[in-house]
Symmetry: C3
Subunit: 167 residues, 3 copies
């Protein structure tokens, strides 16, 4: 078992780095997309990611039930979960108890046999947002990132496509 967390800003090269780390494990890689193609902007981004990573991935769309998906795909190749911040946003929109779900995810990780590579975003390094919802989200994202980082075997922070090893 190996759990790797790749964090960074928007368009920092996180996904590409995570793909490289995922492909380095043996077996057919599994792409766990937390995005749903709900608008044209998101459609275009999903298509671009797919074009880059190639067609040899097993693909799963998992907006909410991440732990079940990781259990269901366990035993094969490494899973790339892209990305945790979108999963968190989905949980909040669905009015699920994100705090409990993050804790359950962290608790489930040590019991998995196949590797998991998570992509997440750093969203707390700008000016305090004006609206309370955005503040809640960045607080939640920070807590989630700390929680998963504490459990992960490796954590990398990507800036301008270049990884810094945090753990």
């Amino acid at each position: 078992m190996a759990v790797i967390l790749i964090t960074g800003g928007a368009r920092s090269g996180k996904s590409k780095r995570a793909e490289t780390r995922t492909r380095a494990f043996p077996g057919q890689p599994v792409y766990v997309a937390t995005a749903e193609a709900l608008d044209a902007e998101m459609d275009a981004r999903i298509a671009k990611h797919r074009a880059r990573r190639g067609t040899d991935w097993i693909e799963r769309e998992v907006p909410l039930d991440l732990v079940s998906a990781l259990v269901a795909t366990d035993g094969g190749g490494a899973r790339l979960v892209d990305c945790l911040t979108l999963w968190l946003s989905n949980l909040m929109h669905a009015e699920r108890d994100w705090d409990r779900e993050v804790t359950e995810l962290a608790a489930a990780l040590p019991h998995l046999a196949s590797p998991v590579v998570f992509v997440t975003n750093e969203v707390g390094l700008g000016i305090v947002p004006d609206n309370a919802l955005a503040r809640s989200f960045r607080d939640a994202a920070g807590i989630m990132n700390q929680t998963i980082a504490a459990t992960a075997d490796e954590v990398e922070f990507v800036v301008a496509g270049l990884p810094m090893k945090l753990k």
Copy 2:
């Protein structure tokens, strides 16, 4: 004398890291809160921080006069100042000369006997804010962080709860 600066984004684990560093010094630790409990959101955050760090701290509320507070509490255990960005915000709201006060703080640090651990925020890594006040604040925060970092013995940048050594 030891001066340590812990910087990072919102909910990055800065305060927890700073508590660990402060407790590692001998003597009863002193918590210097720059926050004032002015609304429910702030109340809740203060209560949460207090619950985590325990009740064995001497507590001081110091929204503005930080240098005096550090001189007054000198000679005992290490001081944890949480946080400099809120102090800066308080100075600006009170229409004090923040630039001069930051310079005076940096100048006072080498004359203190007991350690000081500062928490601060990185706020300049997002998109340029629309309003001029927010731009002024992030400029001021960046200048303050550079000034204190230049004087500090150690500087750490915390991401997802994990410190990177900058100095």
Copy 3:
């Protein structure tokens, strides 16, 4: 030939660091400003930067045609380009094909004889901006930073005035 990319947040000490790196090369340094003095806020910032770096620099204002300017000033001292994110913003306002221009810049770098030190900004580490234009800009800035970082010989990330070596 040496290409150095200095990245970081607003008021992180990037420009100062880049000046130090540029001055370390032999010859008269060339300051390539991508800023145009269009308003009082920008005027003040330009004047402050100029006061700090001294008067022994050759100065060029290059809001758009960066590759030509680097070719035209080649063969002398090192060039400091401050900064790439403003250049990108200028290209977008002028409705030029920024993607192609960034690719051309990266392709031109290995053919230059004199060193180039670039300053750029990390703008993708805050909350997702509300407006589509800001989102496009931060995506473009991230892609540009990755592209130039991939070509650069050295990349540094500056936080609180302190550089971390990324490459």
